[in-house]
Each structure stands twice: as structure tokens, then as C-alpha cells.
Symmetry: C2
Subunit: 463 residues, 2 copies
């Protein structure tokens, strides 16, 4: 049988049965996960009605018939709160949906007509699409698995820049009063751990991203459990290993070490084993514009965080993730969100900047043969493009409403097409303004390039 025929035959057979795709959405907090997932569900529900999905081939060819929400398979995982998100967007004035905390999922059933094959008419087929939303912060914990407590402790203390140091000042002063061989009582340990968690929370509020351990920021039911009460130990390192390992079980060092191990085994690994391993496709959302607005230390920190986060997708044979969990994600999208917050002439630069921000991880992925594509998109478009005249020159501008409802018409500035140099930061050339969503009543949500991202992530399953 000639090769192309085998291929087509397999396609035909494939179409005969229902197929399934598990698509995961992640990003660090405020990257726009909730808006993306809300828009994704909304676009698919409105496909063939009023959604604008020209870049999604099945929609353009009018083969996508509709999408219905059905019961999710795992009854113990919170459902993604789509209705609540839509209710926020449709309220008066419209509000951005509440961010999700932790993992959630939603199952859609898509119906579509298959493409004609050699003159045969396409049949109606079904694709079951599982959408999973989870915090990117959880992926920052992967490298913790290649450490033991001592090496992790050193790595954490090396990392902090001058401003991050400042947020951790109270914790540093307190922990300096204790020696690793000391027996520290439970309540004092809880206090120290609380100071450490507070320093992470402060750093996050100040716009930093590279924060570990991830669950310290979103503890859920583990709030108050000893597994979330450890911290790095300043003043000791590799040369002290032998002496530290000889300490008794109740010493500060051994107590922290035990909790660190418990965190690895009972918090980090279960997520990868029970969820991550089962994802087929993944999109990683990045708020590049927010970081650009926040200055060089935070931008650098985001870059670090993303490099760490992307390690979960490096499927090179010898990579950590592959050795531990044999995941199966076979296609990846990375997307700079909130593209509607710059003028369209800047979108190409936004993609280029995202690609340079992720240059190293992307190289690793390509080497490991994981297909990856970068996008700029707006999940829910909040602005319109206008032209204004300044100094006799016509220039594009954005029109929309600020979060306080004030009408705005502005040009936020140029996006650099590569990692910004000192000069850029000195000019302070970029002014990110938050817009509120536009009113929409039961219509398809306006977007930028959601259809392109969908085509990349699931187009091949809708043939």
C-alpha cells in the first residue's frame, strides 16, 4: 500500500471513533489564564454563529458545528468557573473575571464535519476537549526535585537581587538568631516559616515572578501544615554537608530537611504524576507587557522564572522531567497576552520580544523535537485602534476605558523587538495602562488571534 494511502486510511479510521484532546493552559499569576480560557470556551461555543475565527481552518471552512459543555471526567477537580467569568464580563460596568486559584478543568464536546477525502463527503465527527487550567507557579517547583535540602537552600539564597533581599529582611534577621544544630520548637519554626512565606508574598505583590516553593503562595487545604513550613538556611553550604548530616533528628537542619523531602514527595510529584503527565497540548501565557512596564529587575526575574517554568516542557531524553515522569505533550504554544494594550504595529515586536525572552528554552525544545510556536494575542480585546495626529504626524492609538471607567485615547509606546538594554529602561519608554473589558451581551467575545492559537493547538484534530 503506498504510504499516502495508508495515512489517509488511518485518518478515515480515526474519524470513525470519538477522539479526545487534553489541552492545558498555564502562566504565572496575572498572565491572563482565566481570560484566555473563558474566551476559548466562548469562541468555540459561538463558532458558526458570531465568533470571528478565520484563522481556525475548520471554522473558516464552516465545518465546525458547535461545542457543548459536558461532564468532566475527574469529579474531584474544581470545574473552571466559566459562567462566573461570563457574568463578570456581562455585568455593568463590565469587570475582568476573578483569577482562579489552583487547578480547574472543563470538558467540551466539539462536533465538526470531516474534510472531504477523494471526493467522499465528510462525516460528522466528535472531539472531546478537556481544558485544564493550573498555576504556572507549580511548574517553578520542578527544579526542586533535583535538589536535596542543602543544595536547594544554597540555590535560593544565591538568587535574590537587591530589591528581593529587602522583602526578605525580617525573615533574615529572625533566622540569623538560630543555629542549624539547635532544637527549635514548633511555634518558633512556624513563626520563621511565616516570615519566609510573607517575604515571598511581598515579592509577588511587588511584581516578582520567580518565587519558590510555589504552594507557599497558594496553600489551599495545606494552610498551617508543617509541609509548608520550611525555608532555606543561611550560612551553611556544601562544605558543611558532613557535619550537618550528622546532626540529631530534632535539630533545625534535620527538621527542615525532612519537611523539604515531604514537600517534594507529597506536593510537587503528585501534580506531575496525576495531572501533567496526561496533558496532550499546552499553552503558556506570559504578561510580557506588564513586565516591560515594571522595570529591569522584575523583567530579569520574569526571564529567570520563565526559563525555569519551561524546563517542564523540555522533553530531551536526559531532561529532568523526562526521567521522572515521561510526559506526552506533543505541541506547545507560548503567547504574549494583552496584545490589545499596544497598537497593532507593535504586535510583531511583541512576538519577537517573547521569543528572545524565551530564546534558550525554545532552543532546547527545538533540539528535543517538541514543536513550539510563539504568538501575541488578546483573549478578550478591550481596546479599539484609532489614529491620532501629534506634531502633524498621524500615529496609531488605542481607545478604551480605564479600570475606573474613564475614556482613554493613548499611545502606550514602542515595544522593543529584543531584550531591552539599559538605554530602554532609562528612557522609560513604555507606559502600560490597564483597560476594562468592553460591554458584551451574549455575543462572542472580541479577541486578537485566539483563532491562530486554536489552529495551532487543535486544528490538526479537526480535519
Amino acid at each position: 500500500m503506498p504510504r499516502h494511502l495508508t495515512h489517509e486510511l488511518r485518518n478515515l479510521l480515526d474519524r470513525g471513533r470519538d477522539r479526545q484532546l487534553r489541552l492545558a493552559v498555564t502562566g504565572l499569576s496575572r498572565a491572563g489564564k482565566t481570560a484566555f480560557l473563558t474566551s476559548l470556551v466562548n469562541q468555540l461555543r459561538h463558532a458558526g454563529i458570531d465568533a470571528r475565527l478565520d484563522l481556525l481552518k475548520s471554522a473558516r471552512e464552516e465545518r465546525l458545528l458547535g461545542a457543548q459543555r459536558i461532564s468532566q471526567p475527574d469529579l474531584g477537580i474544581p470545574r473552571f468557573p466559566y459562567d462566573e467569568a461570563i457574568a463578570s464580563l456581562e455585568s455593568t460596568p463590565p469587570r475582568w473575571p476573578e483569577p482562579t486559584r489552583g487547578i480547574s478543568e472543563l470538558r467540551l464536546q466539539l462536533r465538526y464535519k470531516t474534510r472531504r477525502v477523494r471526493g467522499l463527503l465528510g462525516d460528522t465527527a466528535t472531539l472531546t476537549l478537556d481544558l485544564i487550567d493550573y498555576p504556572g507557579e507549580w511548574l517553578l517547583d520542578l527544579p526542586l526535585l533535583e535538589h536535596d535540602f542543602l543544595s536547594w537552600s544554597e540555590s535560593q539564597l544565591r538568587r535574590t537581587g537587591p530589591e528581593r533581599q529587602q522583602h526578605a529582611e525580617a525573615w533574615r534577621t529572625a533566622v540569623a538568631r538560630h543555629r542549624p544544630d539547635e532544637e527549635v520548637d514548633e511555634s518558633r519554626l512556624a513563626e520563621l516559616a511565616d516570615l519566609y512565606a510573607t517575604s515571598l508574598r511581598r515579592a509577588r505583590e511587588a511584581g516578582f515572578s520567580h518565587l519558590q516553593p510555589g504552594r507557599f503562595l497558594l496553600p489551599g487545604d495545606l494552610q498551617g501544615a508543617p509541609v509548608l513550613q520550611f525555608f532555606p538556611l543561611p550560612g551553611v553550604g556544601e562544605p558543611d554537608r558532613q557535619a550537618l548530616e550528622a546532626l540529631p533528628a530534632h535539630s533545625l537542619y534535620q527538621t527542615l530537611k525532612k519537611r523539604f523531602r515531604f514537600y517534594q514527595q507529597h506536593v510537587v510529584k503528585p501534580f506531575y504524576r496525576e495531572h501533567f503527565r496526561r496533558f496532550d497540548r499546552q499553552i503558556v501565557l506570559v504578561d510580557v507587557l506588564g513586565a516591560l512596564n515594571a522595570g529591569p529587575e522584575r523583567f530579569e526575574d520574569l526571564s529567570d522564572a520563565l526559563a525555569t517554568l519551561m524546563r517542564s516542557f523540555d522533553y530531551g531524553k536526559r531532561s529532568l522531567i523526562n526521567r521522572l515522569f515521561s510526559p506526552r505533550i506533543d505541541r506547545l504554544a507560548i503567547a504574549a497576552t494583552k496584545a490589545d494594550h499596544v497598537t497593532p504595529d507593535q504586535h510583531a515586536n511583541l512576538v519577537a520580544l517573547l521569543e528572545s525572552l524565551l530564546a534558550e528554552p525554545i532552543k532546547d525544545l527545538r533540539y528535543a523535537d517538541v514543536p513550539v510556536r510563539a504568538f501575541s494575542l488578546a483573549s478578550i480585546r478591550a481596546t479599539e485602534t484609532r489614529e491620532i495626529e501629534t506634531d502633524g504626524q498621524r500615529q496609531p492609538a488605542l481607545r478604551g476605558h480605564g479600570l475606573d471607567g474613564e475614556p482613554l485615547l493613548l499611545y502606550p509606546g514602542d515595544v522593543p523587538d529584543r531584550l531591552p538594554e539599559n538605554e530602554f529602561w532609562q528612557r522609560q519608554g513604555f507606559d502600560f495602562t490597564a483597560f476594562r473589558p468592553v460591554p458584551c451581551r451574549s455575543q462572542a467575545l472580541p479577541h486578537i488571534r485566539m483563532d491562530a492559537a486554536l489552529e495551532w493547538l487543535m486544528g490538526d484534530k479537526l480535519r
Copy 2:
């Protein structure tokens, strides 16, 4: 070897090694679990210093040397927030501690002198005491395991009295619009489930206790998960079983049935299997006075709830709990809390009332040979006893401060010594007033009969 010698020899051997006791504390919400556990830890920490523990033999004999908090064994369980509780009590003005939500634990190490045996001097020995606090509401879910969805649904709908009905009105109207064979979409199901959970919450706020399923009220990380989105189905019952079972998988009936089963397997059973089975001793706290104050419908409801709750301690060979989990609790205390809210002359009645409230369960326990004793106690005494003169007669009264700080001197009324009859409710003879805690600075907390309860629950382990 004569029998008493064997016994003493075993005791001596026992003392040689460290021993362990897992003591669990439960009660329905507002029964006073947090105050009890806080006081328990506080009394043991102050034993031999300023705690008044005359009814605890080892303390009276000055053999109890002290108690220290040490690391708990399960790092994934929240630690009981003892320090936070003490901080509340020591704040100005003093406040009752925040109630706990879910399970928490704390480990104490007690050091004591063993009793002299035949002229030998006692040695110093150690008892490791694990204290576990968990919501009594979780025990209300046990009977759910002997039902399938249909019989559970019937049992729930049978139960509601006139006032409970009223709280469930919105849910009843909504669910009446759907047929069991209908395919109800996810968002509508979520709405109906939300109305059901709201009816339970309203009933609880109105003072009702017998509420099921327990996790609907304290969802934690399961918030928004389908496993917490089911409800009874009015209008169908046993005679319809065959027709219902034949319905397709996506029908309302089958969907609810599936979730109910998931709740049994993944929510109810794990608590019994992973926690309950390992408890050695148990105290059940009951706010009898609060219920007495709330009128006949709520008192009746509490009585029902307690009968259900106590089934988890019925270790008769053929009992549900024994068949499923082979638990090992070998001694049980039941206690009417807040005894400081009535005058001391009423304490005997309070115990008698508690015993009649639990008459049937106590009979079952005695039959199953589980030692059980009833107490009245105040974990943290908030009042002092005074005498006042009314109509020329001297009468005991309580002095303390109301929650608003107002000084109070009052006689709350007589406690009936058996289940109150109509006449009692018509007289409205009981007036429960909440007092705020008395200021205490680093001293042992004042209490009533905590020492008696401790002697019953752990005295035999401190010989």
C-alpha cells in the same frame, strides 16, 4: 505467676518504652472544639506550675512533670493553631479563638514519674500524645455509606421539618422543573447544587445541626468540584428503581448517582480509613445549652444529629463502622460544654440532660462494651459564681462580661434533667447569654472539670 503480678510486670515493661496515645476531639460546629483543645494543651503545659488539675491523678500526686510540643507525625495535616488561640485569649479585650475548619493536629510529649510499685521508686517515663481536632459534621456522613443514591435521596427528603423546609424552598422550586430522565447541562446542575448547598448553610445559620453531606458546608479545596454538586431528587423512590436504573448515563438521575458514589468513595471513606481508624480515644463535645436556648425544633434536630454522629462509635460486631473500617477507639467521653454558662447547682442536671439526649447511643455503646462517660465542663471558664437576693431569697448567679464588654450578673435559669417536654418550651425558661473570656496573661486557663475529663481520657496511661 499470680494474676496481679503478671499485670504489674507488664506495667513495668510498658513503662520502659515510650508510649503513644492518639486522642481525637470532635463536635458539631460551635460545640467548643477549639476552646477545649486550647485549654487541654494549656493545662498540660501548666501542670505542676499553676494549672488546677486535682481530678487528674498524676497531677494530684505531683507525678506529671510537664508537656512539650514536638513535631507532629503527618506533615501534610494543618497544625492545631494553639498559639493563635492563646493570642486571641490574651488580647485586649480577650476574644474567643477563631474556630478551626477541617482537621488539624498537634503532638505533645508528656513526662511523668511512674507510681511506686512494691516499694520501688517510680521512674521517669514519656507519653506521646497526639491530639486531633476534626469537624463532627464529617461523622454525619457515615450513614451515607449504607445508602445508594436513591435510598439516600429518599432519606434526606423525609427528614425535613417545617422550618427546615422553608430554607430549602428555592432549591425545591428549581429542582421541581427537572425530570430524572432529562439531560441537564453542567451549568444548570451547578446552579441547582448551589441552591442545595445554600439551603444547608441557611439551616446551619438558623441553628440546625443535622446537615448532610458534611463537606458541602466546609468544601476546602473541593470548592467548585462536581463531587460536591449533587442533591436529593424529589418525587422518586424505591418503586421507581427499575425504571431509573435503565436511564441513560447522561440523565439527571445517573449523573447525580455517579457523583454520590464518588463522594462516598473519595470523600467519606478516606477520612475513616486514613484518620478515624487510628484514633485511640475520643471526646465528643455537645453544646446542649445552646440547643436548649434555640427551641424545640432545633433541639430535636440536635438529638437526631447526635444519634447519627454516635454511630461512628458503635463498635458492635455487626455495626456499619465496624464492618467497614475496624476502628480501635477503646474509651469515649461525651461532654456538655460551656457549663460555666449555668450556675453550679445546675451541673448535675446538665449531665443528666446530656445522658438522656444520648440515651439510645449510650445503650448501644454499653452493649458493644465501649466504656463511655458523660461530663459537663467549661474548657475556658468565663464566669464566676455569686449569690444574689430575689424576693428575700438567696440564689446563685453568674458574673462575667458579655461579648460587648458589658458587665453582667444574671441567673440564666434551670436546666431540665431530662428531655424537655412541651411545658418547658412554653415557659421559655432558659436564657443562654454568651460571655467573653476573662483576661489571662500567661497563666493557666481557668476551667471547670477539664481535669476530670483528662483523667478519664488518659489517666490510665500516666500510671
